[in-house]
Symmetry: C2
Subunit: 120 residues, 2 copies
């Protein structure tokens, strides 16, 4: 299964999913799947900024000595964004509506990340 199939499966399986992407910590998207719900949202621009912030959060979390950062969620009034680390260079990101299935989104990112790690 390629990246695009994995992303497409996530987007189809999570109610309220807007878009999913595999991105590098350098801010470059490897592959992105969007739904019509993504119209008018500047997702990719914002996610590039997230890549930058993730690098700093990694360092802050190291200070906690509770293991490396595995997951991040950044939620605003009209969009929830879930991020799951794939390996040291890549992460998986899912945007969904606040009415969407947050728990299922977290679950699917968690089980998909190791599969992507094998292919990257």
């Amino acid at each position: 299964m390629g990246f695009s199939e994995h992303l497409s499966q996530i987007v189809k399986s999570v109610d309220g999913a807007v878009a999913a992407s595999v991105m590098g910590f350098d801010g470059i998207a490897v592959e992105t799947e969007m739904t019509s719900l993504a119209d008018g949202l500047e997702l990719t621009t914002a996610w590039v900024e997230y890549a930058n912030v993730l690098n700093q959060l990694k360092v802050a979390v190291q200070g906690l000595k509770t293991g490396p950062m595995s997951e991040l969620a950044v939620n605003s009034e009209r969009l929830l964004t879930l991020v799951r680390m794939v390996n040291k260079d890549y992460f998986l990101v899912l945007g969904l509506l606040p009415s969407g299935n947050y728990g299922k989104g977290r679950y699917l990112l968690r089980i998909t990340a190791p599969k992507l790690a094998l292919e990257l």
Copy 2:
């Protein structure tokens, strides 16, 4: 009800809660409640770093035009950290074990933040 009572209620009501704090975006903790689960964790140091990162995430989220950032979660292998914005100057943070009640934590931060906003 003072800050300390609000925090203590959160920590007592959420299974696996480690500590809760009201913090300024300047990184200064207004009030903190810890449980014995917090022993050996450098929570306050890491949370000061989070305050710094939050300021940058606020800007990244503005780029999305989906409303201001309301919530953040930063999860590592052995600790989940939930953050809820109180107002433009303060946020509420809760650390809990991965086996803890994540959903209840999110819920309590969401209902407590407006109460704190009235007192800050």
